[in-house]
Symmetry: C2
Subunit: 148 residues, 2 copies
DNA sequence: CCATAATACTTGCGTCCGGAAGTATATCGC
DNA sequence: GCGATATACTTCCGGACGCAAGTATTATGG
């Protein structure tokens, strides 16, 4: 079913673009966070000790290491995140979510949750949403950085 | 089911990132086209008379008008696309797919089709792929620019 | 041990994008 | 008709990204 595979991929690309355009502006307006930044913080929120090596964070977010460096900067200035060294290995730098950061994540996550609901509301059954989530999970569920 | 809605959205974002990273490099290596450029050409391929106003093309691709201007430039130089004016309205500019463009779309589309198949192969049933395509279609099927 | 390779991170550079401003043309209201 | 507004498009500018190069540190193997 090559036709179906192609259709699924094309629609995935389209759907993502549509959804991101729908979510990102509101998120920025309410919390001053870009969607990318919230993903960044959410990864830390889920990580053990709210802490991740920069390399691993890059892998989880599927972005380059330099993007992690640059994303982290403003979040440090805002106090949502701080740097930590590894006493065993001076090469690695950890990014740690601060208390203020955890609070901001909780707030922004709630907003994102409302936005997600709004997108599905009135045209989707709970079962359909669950099926979609389950199928999409197939792509990345086994990869590091999967998030609930 | 707010939890499920959020999970579905998060997984959609992750899945898109994963899929695009999987597809784009190969497509560029084989055909010298970025995924964005192929989308651009595919929109014209499906359009009546292989022709679209720049504004409408921007809407179909969910990008800004300036992006259309810049995407079109190299594709014109390569001869895949050409400009046309509207005799009725001097403001509008059409982008038209040339014969060479149609051929290139056909080739690149075949590659994309193989890549799409490869992504699903061995872990997905035809039925699951069809369900995914159908559910993802809900987001954008009613919007202009939906493509098969 | 110590030279070589591998790893973690940052910085510089080129590219791509969106939004605002600028230009040109068409439409609307009176 | 004609000034005001709207639309289509391009250009300019700032921001964000990936890649490659640079720096620092750790691991490897003879």
């Amino acid at each position: 079913m090559s036709d179906t595979s192609l259709a699924a991929i094309l629609r995935l690309l389209r759907a993502q673009s549509f959804v991101e355009a729908r979510i990102d502006p509101g998120l920025g307006a309410i919390h001053g966070l870009a969607l990318r930044e919230l993903m960044f913080l959410m990864q830390l929120d889920q990580a053990p000790a709210n802490r991740l090596r920069r390399v691993d964070l890059a892998g989880h977010l599927n972005v380059s290491q330099s993007t992690v460096t640059r994303l982290a900067l403003p979040l440090e200035k805002l106090g949502f995140v701080k740097r930590e060294a590894d006493p065993r290995d001076a090469r690695v730098g950890y990014v740690v979510l601060t208390k203020a950061g955890r609070q901001r994540v909780a707030e922004a996550r709630a907003t994102l949750e409302r936005q997600a609901e709004a997108i599905f509301r009135d045209r989707w059954t709970d079962k359909e949403i669950a099926t979609l989530a389950s199928l999409l999970g197939r792509f990345t569920a086994a990869l590091p950085g999967d998030i609930t």
